[in-house]
């Protein structure tokens, strides 16, 4: 039967028109029969039950069930409108809970589930190769044809970009010419980069803009094609705009520009990465040919990788190194969902938060369920009447469930509205390599499907039991009791209490999580990283980009130090190459007489270059020797400071001070002048690394980018501008990238922990509020029910305090059961969070005790008002009450 016709009959006016037509036709038939048989009454007798005929006829053309569902929904709306406060509470509770779930799910979808918006993402493979130079890419490309349709190489760099109004920092993706074609991405406007553009000999100076960049700086103007964008001052011509949904291959990061890889030496002057086989800077992505698989391709390409590494080592390689290289295996990782540091960092926290919002939703449903139970008591009479006049129990059950469903659908709609802003607010809290995360976490089909699913689940959880209870038991007493609930009071009380217990248990669970994560965050924030973070400002600037040579650079650096030192509020100034928490680092192989490396990795040490008085300025502790001074920067002196871990590793029992460390392949000899306590300057969680801090410039060195470290005498607030000005006064061309306090920089690395602590705290507080409302409702109900009992007790001599104690005892009982349940759940889940928390054991009983104390406090506060009401019952009034 045709859908359209049937659907049409659902419209009220269509139904009325149809009704009229049926009536007319039946009347005409009666008339016709009356002509035949003599009279209308004879005709009606002969024709039989015409009303039934009409009903049957109507049933033919409609979906009876759908129509009754319609009627149910209409009725549900009428009932809900009659109880606006209940409806509002229910919809807001559900809206918050479902909204939180939808927001987290949309993040999970964006970070963990969604596939890359490219052609056949399942065939894309990331090559986890031990070598990632341009030379390696050429080798892989030339020798992989049998298994890969192609291999692309890409690297993202943050550089100065100028569209006409002065330079600003942008992320620039350098890609091989086959990048767009291999991914199957076509330009939204113009064209993409082709192998023609990426000719090594004469690369085309072209650039593809991301949709975001285009919108932001060119207001989505199509005439931008052919215009010039400067990258590091190099003019490039805009040839195309990438499609809106394309964000490259890294989830959470979105390059602003794509340029041909061959432009690298031209765009970054004095740096040629392409011709150096030792510069590993690329990511390789291949597209598997149909009919092969990742394992086969990985096995086939492993010899290529080994060959590249052997070539790199040259003919004089150590046998051991060659042996080691030959044992290497290439791995292929699926790139179906994109590569993502974000995913590695946030999959665990997101899952935890997802669990927490799930518990929150359950709590909200239970809360709604207890409200529904209370309503069911009130509606007992109405339902009894409907049952008494012949409504089937299943039919009434359906009606009640429809009501719950209408409520949850309203709540889900509210939740969907809230989820978008909520997800975006959470995204603001996350950074990726210090940059904001770029993700579209909106409402899409999977989020919508998920919300529908939880809405139905919520409707069933919150509605089924109350609906069943509302219809249980004999009808007659309910009818006779004139709307007042009758009988089964004891059972009802038990149900209310067990509900409250479960609610408190869930709240305890969430409160314990909140305690755990905020404790862990506090530990991280307070952790002694080996230097004094308070009143320390880090100013990041790139002296290489200003184009100084070494002599001039040294002079300028000295001038800046002098200038900054003269500022009011500045106590000391120093500088280093890598600074703190910048993610920038370098390592070198070092050699110490008397130290025999077992493996190659044994020789590696982390390297930083520091200015005079570095260690005293940042507040590090020197355990032996001395700090570096201006003296060490004169002539060609080579003084170095090593960390404790370094000293232990390379010098073992010997005293390193005065010892010699040979650094790098050139084996420059550096004299150790001091040992500094281990500092954790890139990750609080990581075990301390072996550091060596070098001082003086050596002939042939390039000028390094610098982080100036300024120790202030007071809070560094407001100093940023004067610092910036001071630097600009020395040389206006010096680009100051950022000025932050050391605390801020540390904070940034803890975004994951802060996100967890914030959300856990939020849900913990929400859960406590919901539990408080639950306790309050339960007690209010019981106190009203027991007014009579309280009156008798008081008449018999009970004091107010004993009545108060009676009520509060009940609360504490419920709390005790709830805390036990919640503790069991929390302990059962503790293993899940072991890896995420820092400095605290998740099973720590103190944590649970703290959570339990908060919970009991909240419960007592919630119980106080009903309890006082009970205690202030006037016995005379209470006894007269019934």
């Amino acid at each position: 039967m045709r859908w359209s016709t049937r659907l049409l009959y659902l419209l009220p006016w269509e139904r009325r028109a149809e009704d009229r037509e049926l009536d007319e036709e039946l009347q005409s038939i009666v008339d016709l029969a009356a002509d035949d048989l003599g009279s209308q009454s004879a005709a009606r007798r002969a024709l039989g039950n015409l009303t039934l005929a009409k009903e049957d006829a109507r049933a033919v053309s409609k979906w009876a069930w759908l129509e009754s569902v319609f009627a149910d929904i209409q009725y549900a709306f009428r009932v809900l409108r009659r109880e606006p406060s209940f409806t509002a509470i229910a919809v807001v509770t559900l809206g918050l809970c479902i909204g939180a779930n939808a927001a987290i799910f949309s993040l999970i979808d964006a970070v963990l589930l969604r596939t890359l918006p490219v052609r056949e993402p399942a065939r894309l493979m990331q090559l986890e190769s031990s070598t990632a130079s341009y030379f390696a890419w050429q080798q892989f490309s030339a020798r992989s044809g049998e298994w890969m349709t192609g291999i692309l190489a890409t690297t993202v760099e943050v550089r100065d970009v100028d569209v006409g109004g002065g330079p600003f920092r942008c992320s620039v993706d350098l890609v091989t010419g086959n990048y767009f074609d291999l991914l199957g991405v076509t330009a939204a406007h113009g064209r993409t980069i082709t192998p023609e553009d990426d000719r090594r000999a004469s690369p085309a100076p072209v650039v593809v803009l991301s949709q975001r960049f285009w919108r932001h700086y060119f207001a989505s103007d199509v005439s931008v094609l052919g215009r010039t964008v400067r990258v590091q001052g190099q003019p490039l011509s805009v040839i195309g705009i990438a499609p809106a949904e394309f964000f490259g291959i890294e989830v959470g990061q979105s390059p602003d520009l794509w340029i041909p890889l061959s432009l690298q030496p031209a765009v970054f002057p004095n740096q040629n990465w392409l011709d150096s086989p030792n510069t590993n800077f690329l990511d390789f992505i291949g597209r598997l040919r149909p009919g092969t698989n990742a394992q086969v391709a990985a096995d086939a390409l492993t010899p290529v990788m080994i060959d590249i590494n052997v070539t790199r080592l040259g003919p004089n390689a150590r046998i051991a190194s060659l042996e080691r290289i030959k044992k290497q295996r290439l791995r292929l990782l699926s790139l179906e969902r994109g590569s993502s540091i974000l995913r590695d960092r946030f999959s665990e926290p997101l899952k935890l938060v997802f669990g927490m919002v799930g518990v929150g939703l359950l709590l909200g449903c239970l809360n709604l369920m207890s409200l529904q139970l209370a309503r069911a008591r009130e509606r007992r009479r109405e339902l009894s009447i409907r049952l008494a006049i012949g409504a089937g129990r299943a039919r009434v059950l359906r009606q009640l469930l429809t009501e719950s469903l209408v409520l949850t659908i309203l709540g889900a709609s509210l939740g969907l509205l809230l989820s978008g802003p909520a997800a975006n607010a959470l995204l603001v809290m996350i950074t990726l390599r210090g940059e904001p995360v770029v993700i579209t976490a909106g409402i899409n089909r999977s989020v919508l499907g998920f919300v529908c699913l939880i809405a139905v689940a919520a409707a069933l959880i919150s509605g089924l039991l109350p609906a069943l209870r509302a219809m249980r038991g004999p009808l007659l007493p309910a009818l006779q009791a004139r709307g007042r609930s009758a009988g089964a009071g004891h059972e009802r009380k038990r149900l209310g209490r067990s509900l409250a217990c479960v609610q408190l248990g869930l709240s305890l669970f969430l409160a314990a999580a909140a305690c755990l994560f905020s404790f862990s965050l506090q530990k991280l924030l307070r952790y002694d990283i080996g230097l004094n973070r308070s009143n320390l400002v880090v100013s990041d600037m790139n002296t290489t980009e200003a184009g100084y040579d070494l002599t001039h650079g040294r002079f300028i650096v000295a001038r800046i130090v002098e200038r900054l030192n003269s500022l009011l509020g500045v106590k000391a100034v120093t500088y280093s190459q890598n600074g703190f928490f910048t993610g920038r680092n370098s390592s070198q192989n070092v050699y110490v007489d008397g130290f025999e490396p077992v493996q190659d990795s044994d020789s590696s040490a982390w390297l930083d270059r520091v200015g005079p008085h570095y260690f005293t300025t940042i507040g590090a502790t020197l355990v032996a020797g001395r700090d570096v001074t201006e003296e060490d920067f004169t002539g060609s002196r080579r003084a170095a400071v090593v960390s404790e871990s370094f000293a232990r590793h390379f010098f073992q029992q010997r005293n390193p001070v005065g010892g010699i460390v040979y650094v790098g392949e050139k084996k420059e000899a550096w004299e150790v002048v001091g040992i500094v306590r281990d500092m954790r300057v890139d990750n609080v969680r990581a075990t301390p690394r072996r550091w060596i801090y070098l001082t003086n410039y050596q002939p042939g060195d390039r000028m390094w980018g610098l982080q100036f470290l300024v120790r202030t005498s007071g809070a560094p607030l407001g100093l940023e501008n004067s610092l910036r000005q001071a630097i600009q006064q020395v040389d206006p061309r010096l680009p100051v990238r950022s000025i932050n306090t050391a605390d801020e920089l540390l904070n940034r690395t803890l975004d994951r922990d802060r996100l967890l602590a914030f959300l856990a705290g939020l849900f913990g507080a929400l859960a406590l509020a919901i539990a408080a409302v639950g306790i309050y409702g339960l007690l209010s109900y019981e106190v009203t029910k027991r007014t009579n009992e309280v009156g008798i007790r008081m008449a018999l001599g009970a004091t107010r305090s004993s009545i108060l104690a009676l009520v509060l005892r009940e609360v504490l009982l419920v709390c005790a059961v709830g805390i036990t349940l919640g503790s069991i759940a929390a302990l059962a889940c503790s293993r899940l969070v072991e890896k995420v928390v820092f400095g605290i054991e998740p099973r720590n009983p103190l944590l649970l005790a703290a959570a339990a104390a908060i919970l009991v406090l909240v419960a007592l506060v919630a119980a106080w008002f009903p309890a006082r009401r009970a205690a202030s019952v006037d016995p005379m009034l209470a006894l007269r009450h019934e």
Binding site: M1, R2, T5, E25, L26, S28, I29, D31, L32, A33, D35, D36, L47, G48, N49, L50, L52, A53, K54, D56, A57, R58, A59, V60, S61
Partner: protein, 133 residues
């Protein structure tokens, strides 16, 4: 003999043994009767009932309560169409006529019916002793 057809009030035993996979056989029968009656020209509801009564030598009387929904069903299926017209006795009535889809359906239903009748008579005329061996 008067046979009253109300599809939902009659159950047929042994249908499955006849391998006729139409559980709504009688409903189908009513459809067939209506379609067949309309082949002679458009008729209104009462006319259809009367015509079936007459052409079956008054053996079949269609209860109006069954006929009427059947007409709606056939119309929704597109086998018949309806139109308000004036009857010969100058009364307005809804006249049903066979559509081309209805004609095709009639042919199908007729052959099905014949199969059914043949199967039935095959069973009824069979020699009990043969069927037992």
């Amino acid at each position: 003999m008067i046979l009253t057809l109300r599809p939902d009030s009659i159950r047929l035993g042994g249908m499955k043994k006849l391998q006729l996979q139409r559980t709504d056989l009688l409903q189908g029968t009513l459809d067939l009767l209506v379609l067949r009656t309309l082949i002679f020209g458009p008729l209104h509801g009462y006319g259809i009932a009367k015509a079936i009564h007459q052409t079956s030598n008054e053996a079949l009387r269609i209860e109006f309560g069954s006929l009427y929904p059947a007409l709606r069903r056939l119309e929704l299926k597109g086998w018949i169409s309806s139109k308000w017209e004036t009857s010969d006795r100058n009364r307005k009535a809804k006249f049903y006529r066979l559509t081309s889809a209805g004609k095709r359906q009639l042919v199908k239903e007729e052959s099905k019916w014949e199969q059914f009748v043949a199967a039935m008579s095959g069973v009824l005329k069979s020699d009990p002793r043969v069927s037992q061996s």
